[in-house]
């Protein structure tokens, strides 16, 4: 660094790492799409948002600090795009409770919410910030610290959001909370059956991180 940096300063073309950066972006597209869909709920809107974020990421590539977490950086861009303009289509509709009727449940196999499980429907009833925190930590595998960076808030806020989201989902699945649309058979037998089914699914367990922070207030 320092005085020796002159040689590359005016060489014109993009830095040699561009191709590598592009390759890294390509590898992260599936994750970007998954996060986007968890924010938007709708496949097409989510892909539009993800593409916009991808283009933005490319334009801003010089602001990326080499060696830092590219996935978190990319998710941050997507998240900012999502919240930056309330008028954009992806800010409304499917996850929005009031728009539950318009939920494109039957559009095709690829829709996030096809085979809408109870968990998916309960997720839809959460405030966006809680859903986002829960997805980042519970599904995306991010640490609370990285999730806090992505969501631009304090670590404690993420913890609180995740705890409240889990509590709300649990209450909904137990039948103590409202389940948006699609009534399901009530009663503990049905719930137990669903839980038994869920237990047979993949053995990943992100909820075991040991946080018991319910009761903390959310500073936002």
């Amino acid at each position: 660094m320092g005085a020796g940096g002159e040689a590359t300063a005016d060489s014109g073309g993009p830095p040699p790492s561009d191709r590598e950066f592009q390759r890294d972006l390509l590898e992260l597209i599936p994750f970007l799409r998954a996060f986007s869909r968890s924010l938007c709920g709708d496949r097409e809107l989510a892909d539009d948002l993800a593409q916009e974020a991808l283009a933005k990421a490319w334009q801003s590539r010089n602001t990326f600090r080499a060696g830092s977490n590219l996935k978190a950086w990319l998710f941050t861009i997507l998240r900012n795009q999502f919240y930056s303009d309330r008028r954009r289509a992806w800010r409304q509709a499917p996850w929005d409770d009031s728009a539950a009727e318009r939920m494109p449940v039957a559009r095709g196999e690829q829709t996030w919410a096809v085979q809408l499980s109870d968990t998916a429907r309960a997720l839809r009833g959460l405030p966006a910030e809680q859903r986002e925190a829960l997805i980042l930590v519970g599904a995306g595998g991010f640490s609370y610290e990285d999730a806090a960076k992505i969501s631009n808030c304090a670590v404690g806020t993420v913890k609180s959001r995740v705890a409240r989201a889990r509590k709300a989902l649990s209450a909904t699945l137990e039948g103590n909370g409202p389940l948006p649309s699609e009534p399901r058979p009530a009663g503990s037998d049905a719930t137990n059956e669903i839980m038994a089914q869920l237990d047979r699914l993949a053995p990943f367990d992100p909820t075991q991180a040991g946080q018991r922070s319910s009761g903390k207030t959310d500073p936002t």
Partner: protein, 49 residues
């Protein structure tokens, strides 16, 4: 509270499954086209420098 913990575990698995389902989907051509376009514009820039 064993039931509650089991429920939380189940919710975690389900969230993970939903997320992974999308991750496993083939990347739509739109995305690859976008990267190709980036590549082309980059190539133009390279050529003009």
């Amino acid at each position: 509270m064993i039931a509650a913990r089991a429920r939380q575990r189940a919710i975690g698995r389900e969230l993970r499954r939903m997320y992974d389902d999308v991750v496993q989907e083939p990347v739509p051509d739109d995305f690859l086209d976008l990267l190709k376009k980036i590549d082309e514009s980059k190539g133009k820039k390279d050529a003009s420098s």
